[in-house]
């Protein structure tokens, strides 16, 4: 991870030299950083990029790589607001035309992927190039269940990973995100998440996805779903609440969708029974809280789900979409304490995961199921808009 004296004197020449691409590399282990530098050297021609980082430089660094020091900050599993501020600041100094931010363990991205991300901004006039990772079907489940479908329905964006930990931006996009990041108070910098796709849609900038293949995804220091789900979902809900005037306007999602990439899922043998048991326990105990958030028809559907055996367990896509929408509306209305609200969502999310795993076990590709879920979110968007505007109409 980051050390106290990372930058050597031979980087002085890079301080103000111009470059096409500014690469901001977030704190990571020395071996990972070494791999990132090697891949960058292969992806870009010498002198066309500058690396801004706080990582300790490896001993055998190529002389062609120009590096500037950034202020020390703690390592994190996702991009932090300070990363966007630093990228904009150093990119401005070097007159960069593309701002590439690489998250932890970015050495698993190939040189071709890095080049493709930068080319999307440099050549294709894209403002925000977001990677499309090829992850195992049992990974990134919060993204598949909530982040992707909700972002797609609300902001009409088909970006598969709205909370990607690598991205490439144009100067104006970098300035906008730096402005948003600057508004985050220092006290909440450690936990704050930015939503670049939502910002790009709000600004009317062009967004596109770039296939980057597989990538090692860094995990939060606390892998407990209780904390991850509350943090990520709460942040997205807050962002959607802040942009309510934007997403309530009807938008047509882009029609073109890249072909689904199926990844081998033979490594996954998740404990569906345990997740279903967690849901059943919650169904028996949390009715009082759920009834404050969910309409009676959803509660009835959940009761029916709770009678299913683990092997046959499934949660209908439409039901899941309405549950997320109802929780989003309750988050906005502060029906109950927001911590309690997100805590009460966890068993429902586990139920969706159990159903998703059963769907995959039945032979249906994971991506097809996720696309069906996202489509259900799109179809039910009028329900969200109606409840957002007239929350008292509970049984609409």
């Amino acid at each position: 991870m980051a050390t106290a004296n990372p930058i050597t004197d031979n980087t002085q020449a890079a301080e103000n030299a111009a470059a096409d691409v500014l690469v901001l590399v977030t704190p990571m282990a020395p071996e990972h950083f070494k791999g990132v530098l090697a891949n960058l050297g292969s992806a870009f021609s010498s002198g066309s990029f500058v690396v801004a980082t706080q990582n300790e430089l490896p001993a055998d660094i190529p002389s062609s790589v120009r590096i500037v020091a950034t202020p020390q900050s703690s390592a994190a599993w996702a991009l932090k607001p300070i990363d966007f501020v630093n990228a904009a600041q150093y990119g401005r100094v070097h007159g960069a035309k593309a701002f590439l931010i690489l998250g932890p363990e970015a050495d698993s991205l190939s040189p071709l992927a890095l080049r493709s991300l930068a080319d999307a901004v440099l050549s294709a006039s894209i403002d925000l190039a977001v990677p499309h990772y090829s992850l195992p079907s049992h990974a990134g489940l919060v993204n598949s269940a909530i982040l992707y479908p909700l972002t797609r329905a609300a902001f009409a964006s088909r970006v598969r990973f709205p909370l990607s930990i690598d991205l490439c931006m144009s100067p104006r996009m970098a300035e906008r995100l730096a402005g948003v990041a600057s508004a985050v108070s220092p006290a909440s910098q450690a936990d704050a998440l930015l939503w670049p796709v939502n910002e790009a849609v709000a600004a009317g900038f062009v967004t596109d996805e770039v296939d980057v293949g597989s990538r090692a995804m860094p995990q939060p220091s606390d892998p407990d779903v209780n904390s991850i789900l509350a943090l990520i979902t709460g942040s997205l809900f807050a962002d959607i609440e802040a942009k309510a005037a934007l997403w309530q306007r009807p938008r047509r999602p882009p029609l073109v969708r890249r072909p689904m990439v199926e990844v081998d899922l033979s490594d996954g043998t998740a404990d569906v029974a345990r997740m279903v048991a967690a849901f059943k326990l919650a169904n028996a105990n949390l009715q009082e809280i759920w009834s404050l958030v969910l309409p009676p028809n959803s509660l009835l559907a959940l009761r029916r789900c709770s009678t299913l055996d683990p092997v046959a367990f499934s949660m209908p896509d439409g039901l899941w979409a309405r549950i997320v929408y109802d929780f989003l509306v309750a988050y906005r209305l502060r029906t109950i304490n927001r911590g309690h609200l997100l805590g009460a969502l966890i068993p429902l999310y586990l139920a969706w995961v159990a159903g998703h795993i059963n769907v995959m076990a039945s032979g249906i590709p994971a991506e097809r199921h996720i696309e069906a879920v996202a489509a259900a979110f799109e179809v039910d968007k009028p329900y969200l808009v109606a409840r957002w505007r007239w929350p008292d109409r509970f049984n609409s």
Binding site: G140, L141, A187, S188, I228, S235, T269, D271, A278, H340
Partner: protein, 268 residues
């Protein structure tokens, strides 16, 4: 006013004494009517003395409530204009999670502060007029301030009990504890019993009986919870001890019961 009252009472006495009957009956009637007259006189005098205070109380309450409505409206507009909610959200992150927005809370707080101020000023005016005008003490009046304090204690206790009960229930369910509801109810009743004891103590009702009853109830609930948790976690403790015996000298590892521990599932 007092002259009018005296006149009316004398007329009433004369009409009573004019009733025909024996001399003993007349004497009884006379004493009764005199006692009634004196009582009526005292109560009416007290009411007349207190009436301006009551009026002052309601006027003060009305004026300050109106001022509160006005101030809260101005505050709401100003804070909305200054994007107060967004600023607070930025500073506190996602931890700020009360049932209302910060602007709404500030506006409501300002209104209720004004109402409380009106209440204090009204009670003060009432108290002044009562102290000067009342020839007899009324034992219920000192209870008024205690009752207000007790009511506030009760409201705070119920709110805290509800919040803690929900927190415990959700955490216990997410930790897959089968006795989640019992735990939640136990916490809720612990806080409620504590609140009830504090309220009674504040009202100075019951004395030692309340303390004793509180001790017994509180101890009983804690014992019940301890038994519930202990019996429910018997298997976990057994496994832990067995593991400790098998790996003497090594760090005891208790299996994580949280469903997220499955290494195959990655939520992010």
């Amino acid at each position: 006013m007092q002259n009018t009252l005296n006149n009316s009472m004398q007329q009433a006495t004369q009409s009573i004494t004019a009733i025909p009957g024996s001399s003993e009956d007349a004497s009884i009637w006379h004493h009764m009517s005199e006692a009634l007259n004196q009582s009526l006189y005292r109560v009416l005098t007290l009411l007349i003395a207190v009436l301006p205070g009551i009026l002052a109380f309601f006027v003060a309450l009305l004026v300050f409530a109106t001022a509160g409505v006005l101030i809260s409206w101005i505050l709401r507009r100003c804070l909305s204009w200054a994007k107060f909610d967004a600023r607070i959200a930025q500073k506190s992150g996602t931890d700020w999670a009360p049932a209302s927005s910060p602007t709404e809370i500030v506006a409501r707080a300002s209104f209720w502060i004004c109402v409380l101020l009106g209440l204090v000023i009204g009670v003060s005016a009432f108290d002044t007029s009562y102290a000067t005008g009342a020839p007899l003490p009324i034992s219920l009046l000192p209870y008024l301030t205690h009752a207000v304090g007790a009511a506030l204690l009760l409201i705070a206790g119920v709110v805290v009990a509800r919040f803690l009960a929900r927190s415990v229930l959700i955490s216990a369910v997410n930790a897959q504890l089968q006795y989640a509801r019992i735990l939640s109810l136990g916490v809720k009743w612990l806080v409620l019993v504590l609140t009830a004891a504090m309220v009674l103590d504040h009202l100075q009702v019951g004395g030692n009986i309340v303390e004793l009853a509180f001790g017994i109830l509180f101890g009983g609930i804690v014992l019940t919870l301890a038994l519930a948790v202990g019996l429910g976690s018997r298997d976990l403790v057994s496994r832990s001890l067995e593991s400790h015996v098998e790996h003497t000298g090594e760090r005891t590892h208790i299996p994580d019961e949280v469903p997220t521990a499955s290494p195959q599932i990655r939520h992010f």
